[in-house]
Amino acid sequence: MKTTDSAGKRGTGGLDRRAFLKAGGATALATIMAPAFAGRAQAAYSGTLDMLAWDFQPDTIKTLVAEWTAKGNPAVNVAVIPNLGYSPALQTRLRGGDAIDLYYNFAYNSQKFIDQGWAAKLNGLPGVDDMVADMFESARAAHVNAAGDIISAPYFSAVHMMHYNDRMLKEAGIAAAPQTLKEVYDASKILKDKKIVESPYVAYWVKEFCEEYLHTYLLNEGITAFDTAGKPVFADDAKTEGVFEWWQTMYQEGLAPKSVLSDDPGKLSNQMAQGDAAFFVLHHYFLSSIRSLGGKESANVMQGPIGGANHTFQIGEVLQLGEIGDEERRNAAWDLMKFYGWKDSAGKFTVFNQWAKAAGLAAPYPGFFKDPDVIAAFPDYYDLPLISKTFETGSKVVPARTLPWYPDFQAKVGDVVHALLLGQATPKKTVEDLTAAANSAQKGRSL
């Protein structure tokens, strides 16, 4: 959808002075150097591009895109809508014939959008193989499907980590932060029994988010949820019931607060900051949230790995390229996509660096963690080598999450898990219900 606040129009209104001067300087330079850019694909397209993003620091998005435009590239109309309702709005717009060249998308939608013809496969585009090769091996399956189709580029990535209150652990005589589910249970029990904290463990267990924890906890115990064909193989693993027993026990014994089934991450971060909880498992960047709240315990909250010898869960949302008939326009949009989802023409992680500064978001590229600008962007309290190592060897993506049937399964997980937590279902029945949910989602999937 065309918007009235294109990047070009924001030149003096939406950009700060520094960005404006940079953009102006770069434009002047681009004009002088025009012959040198003559052979570049993006210079061949003279129209504007359309980009749709969700509302996370839209001013930063526009500034970044304006920087790209200032390097002799086409102007970009950046439209921003809220994350809440983004998926139905995006699908309605694409079905209604809206031509969007580049857009944010949820990873679980990525294969479906390819199948519907709303997003283009990236295979064969200049430099795409280098982009994939540049990623952590663990991240590739989120962007390349089993058939070898490259379906998306990263918008951001994160790994589930353990946030723990170091002071409380020391007070309880716990030598090291727990990593396995059993260690988490034991440590939580000690903290509760010693009355250091009433409900030591918090997590974002609302219905919509239980699916992420399902994978986190299964991976922690070394369980593969789905095979490459999408078959729910977690049911075949004897350890799966044990994971659900742990989950149910944590809630039933009050080691997690009763309100945790509806608490939002802002509240959970605040509970950590105020010392109302000792453990919080969620994406690594929540450490920024806890620390920036400035609560009485904020400075005592550290970050550690989970999963022990096994893995944690790696997540991320994606960028997708629209189906664009015009080759020059497609090449220009792809160039923008590379800039936004990989590196700039100078080989710097310009965009990811901004997201790191803004909220501690990461990129699934080893080079990202070695970039001096990125290292400087993360506050000192982050253990970047640990996060990098977690991306490299300590985490896995779940490729099935990009399959078209997956959102139907995802929608059912919350009800099944909440029934387990509330004691309305046994761990055994939970395994059966989740298996049935996965099978029915695969059979009944339709647009």
Binding site: M1, K2, T3, T4, D5, G14, W54, D55, F56, Q57, P58, D59, T60, A79, V80, I81, P82, N83, L84, G85, P88, A89, T92, R93, R95, G96, G97, D98, Y204, F209, D264, P265, G266, K267, S269, N270, Q271, A273, Q274, D276, L282, H283, S289, S292, L293, G294, G295, E317, A358, A359
Partner: protein, 308 residues
């Protein structure tokens, strides 16, 4: 004088009978129960609003304190300031330039809702008057079908709207919203106004007709002035519906109005409750002022016909 003297005992007798029939003053216990119930209900309704206002006046760290500070020990206007200046980024995640977008969005919401009120009162006024005064075979069914159109989910019909507006080139403009909002505001307005017109005496219209007034003249010169409370009530409710609508605005525009802009405070899993509370309080001011000004008409019109 004699008549008056004779009347007095009769009046007393009437009063006694009135009291015997249940009109006597309430007992103290009954009054306490009623007032306590009303206070409890008011508390139930107003507590979330108070929570919102307090959240907008405290820091993120205070927000996490248990129990929640119903009466905060200290307040700050930083949240309002940060929303107005756009400096929401350093204290949480999500929108950082919402300040520069909030006031224009309030302006657009006001424009959309106001035009919608004018259009709806014109169209629904004529429709409701026709249904009230000139019933036809199947008019009751027609009325029901109008009401049913309100229950169609927005997502079911937004696709065709999107295509039509894309072809017309009015996506991301107030007109896309003004046109599409009629789907749910027109039935509401027709329902309210038809109910109100039904209560107005027909004799006055018949007198106007005898004096030579045409149907339209009767409507504009006679009915509209006496139906003013009903029109105001319908107008206020339409305004509120237009002001708070989210989904059409989400799909057909890029955060042109207030609701999708406020939703932008919720990022993927990150929230800035304090800034959201401040922005919400600010965006509530126009509709709240409107309702306060016209509340008498709204209540009167909505209860029209309740007591005959």
């Amino acid at each position: 004088m004699a008549n008056i003297a004779l009347d007095k005992p009769r009046s007393r007798k009437r009063a006694t009978s009135f009291a015997a029939s249940g009109g006597r003053p309430r007992s103290l216990t009954a009054s306490i129960v009623i007032y306590a119930s009303v206070a409890l209900f008011a508390l139930w309704v107003l507590l979330p609003v108070w929570y919102l206002v307090v959240s907008s006046l405290i820091t993120p760290a205070q927000l996490g304190i248990k129990p929640f500070p119903i009466v905060p020990s200290s307040i700050t206007f930083d949240n309002y300031w940060s929303v107005l200046t756009g400096d929401t980024g350093s204290k949480g995640f999500g929108s950082t330039d919402v300040g520069s977008r909030l006031l224009p969005a309030i302006g657009q919401s006001f424009f959309v809702s106001s035009v919608l009120v004018i259009l709806n009162l014109l169209i629904a006024g004529h429709a409701a008057y026709g249904l009230s005064r000139y019933p036809f075979s199947g008019s009751r069914l027609f009325e029901l079908s109008i009401i049913i159109s309100r229950v169609i989910p927005a997502i079911a019909i937004i696709g065709p709207f999107f295509v039509a507006f894309r072809v017309m080139g009015i996506l991301n403009t107030p007109w896309a919203l003004i046109i599409s909002y009629n789907v749910f505001t027109l039935p509401l307005a027709i329902m309210i106004l038809k109910n109100y017109f039904d209560q107005l005496p027909r004799e006055i219209e018949e007198a106007a007709k005898i004096d030579g007034a045409s149907r339209m003249q009767t409507l504009w010169i006679i009915i509209v002035p006496i139906a003013k409370p009903g029109l105001v009530a319908a107008g206020v409710l339409i305004f509120l519906e237009g002001w708070s609508e989210f989904f059409y605005s989400l799909v057909l525009t890029n955060q042109l109005t207030v609701p999708p802009l406020l939703a932008g405070f919720q990022s993927v899993q990150q929230f800035n409750w304090n800034s959201l509370a401040a922005a919400t309080v600010m965006s509530m001011i126009p509709p709240v002022v409107l309702v306060i000004i016209f509340q008498r008409h709204v209540v009167g019109a909505l209860t029209a016909g309740a007591v005959k």
